[in-house]
Amino acid sequence: METPNIAHAEAAVEAHHHEPQSFWTKYVFSQDHKVIAMQYMITALVMGFIGMVMSWLFRIQLAWPDHNLPFLRFLMPTNMESGTLQTPGYYMLVTMHGTIMIFFLLTAILTGGFGNFLIPLQVGARDMAFPFLNMLSYWFYFLSCVVVTISLFVSTGAASGGWTSYPPLSALAKATPGSGLGQDLWLVSIALFIVASTMGSLNYVTTALNMRAKGMTLMRMPLTVWGIIVAAVLGLFAFPALFAGAVLLLLDRHLGTSFFLPHLVLGGEHIVRDGGSPLLWQHLFWFLGHPEVYILILPAMGITSEILSNGARKPIFGYKVMVASLVAIAFLSFIVWGHHMFVSGMNPWLGFAFVITTLIIAIPSAIKTFNWLGTLWKGNIRFTTPMLYAIGFISTFVTGGLTGLFLGNSALDIPLHDTYFVVAHFHVVMGLSSVFGIFAGIYYWFPKMTGKMMSERWGKVHFWLTFIGSYGVFWTMHYLGFMGMPRRYYSYDSYQFLPPSMHTLQMIITISALIVGAAQFIFIVNFLGSWLRGKKAPDNPWQANSLEWQAPTPPPHGNWGPKLPEVHRWPYDYSVPGASADFVPQTVPVEVEPSGEHHSAAVAVNGHGHTNGHGNGHHA
């Protein structure tokens, strides 16, 4: 067996020596971070596809409650027997859609997929610090996916108490269909997922802190690495709270404990417990749940920053502030969880603190937005597919971030809480934005991962359908939120306070969702087709500076051949005045090409950089 901890700095030859030969060690139980990255990525995309199909089914119910689609029976034999989605099936679908998308797609692909692929390659390491642990992380994740998938097929149904699984609904089998074995499997799969995430996160942080190539100081790391390791630290601190919650809820369910259950009467039957509180679960859940949304957004921010700078052929604007704001957002994310609980029965005076901490997050978020705009300002923008998505990220992040200022203010949260406004808000800011970051990242790094280029033409078609369609879905939902439409309703027919125009809006949303969904088939075909028979990718197709583009394509086991790269500059030396090309890779010594890294402040203030940069009279 391979030594788990290769001494990376000197062990080039040794690494080659250890290259796995058999199919099983090379592609299945691989300890190579690039293979594990692809395993994570593909598993996550498959899960995401399942989650997306689920959303179509419940969206059809919401737009056309009278639908009769017997051909969909094969998808849900028990819940669509008549061709119409039944109520228990509807609640299972919304619950499992949220669970799968947040944990099994977004968290997994951003940290497990991109983190695995990019951290060693971008910091100049041969692999992760603990390759065996890394492999174990993937297989625990795989197991958690298997368990959650099995839960869809148990006879009492999958969990249906919402992705937040609030007890008592999730604690008592009699409370709702799906609160039987399905809920147990849900809890077990989440616990397994947390184990996987913890093993992965330990690796990402350790590798980035300890295994950087010579010259790769912390402040020369690409923002992608910053985004991912800060997210990994969040995961390490926040996920244990949900792990504890999951164990306690299992105890309440099976051993008669009372962590989350008071004495209650369900369907006429006394359930005699004492001293537990449903609010405890909410605290534990959101202690993870809020950092969790930043686990999804911070890596996407890093990816976006990286691609915006590359696509604009311009240094990222305010690098240090970008790092500082990532860290600030991460810190604040631990002390805002109560904003999910303003009207939960939590002591209202606690709401004060959470209003203040929550709204403060707007400051680092705004700084990041200004800096992305600052990066585009006076750039020379290449409209590649990754760049289209990265620019889209700015739009969705701003749109979704601003609605957070409504919900984070407790008084405004009163009417908006648990309405479609909330659904709109978190889908735009955390769903769409991180999905845009992911797509930007896939199109951008696909050449390095596979050695093939993806089709730009189909990439653009995919982007435009996804971008316009997504706003069709989620911008529209805000209006339903204004109307006061509660979320998680199977049907709205019995309510008169909702104007009839809500049917039109529901149809716009569902049609948009189906279009966005169809567009993902273009992505799948492009992804698989390009992998199989795409154009061969050059080593550095985007003319980028960071280290991974200086490695062979695709990088071999051990990444760098016999000699490790040496870093001489930051990764954002684009369009440096006096340089021979509009990009200077991190491995190029400063004696060979100039760098703006050290005298950049002077350039920015006195404006020499601008004059040098605009040779052709395009200066406004």
Partner: protein, 270 residues
């Protein structure tokens, strides 16, 4: 780089069209809140409009600037990007502006929150609301004018809302399947759940509070209109969540008293 002009134009155009549609439909209130019916709701709506104004300015500004940059700085082979790494005065002043806007929002928000969460006025009319899968029941005092204590542990087939058998005030209490309150007084609501979480939502009054088993949660508000309003449940409570609909009627005191007198006191079956 001909293709890049097409993409740049399309991108800028989409951002502007989207922003225009978004801004118009919101400013025009095309799809809007239900008609307002409470004093507290008016203040919430007011804070909402201030927040909408501030965030709307940022939303429009960012999208217009983004559209302009995308078009203005589209890639052309003869151009080169400027080498600009940062601009500290700009970043500090931008952050300070945001902070200032936040002071307004936090100040307005916490002041209003304090008002809403303060104890109800002493003349408030109090109703105890029981939630269960999937209906609302409303508890009123009987002729003695005082509401009896209730507790989940007393619940039985004969005593479905757990009136305390030892509480003399409980004997003539009334349970109704609709909520009626007299117009002209603040309304205080005590929320109780038998089974799982529910949420008592009054869209017209901009009020909402979760109903938590094992706890008493509360809200109060001052109606500015009489009439009949709906009470949807806003916290997922099971397969019947979407049909857990209650009705609130706010009527002149005389009409209310007449309604109450027609309700049969449940009392205790002992």
């Amino acid at each position: 780089m001909k293709a890049s002009s097409g993409q740049a134009f399309g991108y800028a155009a989409f951002l502007l069209v989207f922003t225009a549609i978004a801004a118009y439909t919101v400013a025009n209130k095309t799809w809007w809140f239900p008609p307002l019916a409470s004093v507290q709701g008016a203040e919430i709506d007011n804070l909402f409009m201030i927040t909408l104004l501030l965030t709307g300015i940022v939303f429009i500004a960012v999208h217009v600037v983004l559209a302009y940059f995308v078009w203005r700085y589209r890639g052309r082979s003869e151009r080169k990007a400027a080498y600009i790494t940062h601009n500290t005065p700009f970043e500090v002043s931008a952050a300070a502006t945001v902070a200032l806007a936040l002071v307004i929002l936090v100040g307005g928000g916490t002041t209003l929150w304090t008002k809403i969460q303060s104890p109800p006025p002493s003349d408030a009319f109090t109703v105890e609301v029981w939630a269960e899968q999937f209906r609302w029941t409303f508890h009123y005092p009987g002729a003695d004018g005082r509401m009896g204590n209730t507790d989940v542990k007393f619940i039985s087939d004969e005593n479905p809302y757990g009136l305390d058998p030892n509480d003399p005030y409980a004997k003539d209490d009334i349970f109704a399947s609709e909520m009626h309150v007299p117009y002209g007084k603040p309304i205080a609501v005590i929320l109780r759940s038998k089974d799982v979480l529910h949420s008592f939502f009054l869209p017209h009054f901009r009020m909402k509070m979760d109903v938590v088993p094992g706890m008493k949660t509360r809200l109060w508000f001052t109606p500015t209109q009489s009439g009949t309003f709906e009470i949807p449940c806003a916290e997922l409570c099971g397969v019947g969540h979407y049909i857990m609909r209650g009705v609130l009627t706010i009527e002149p005191p005389a009409a209310f008293n007449e309604w109450l007198s027609q309700q049969t006191p449940v009392g205790m079956s002992q």
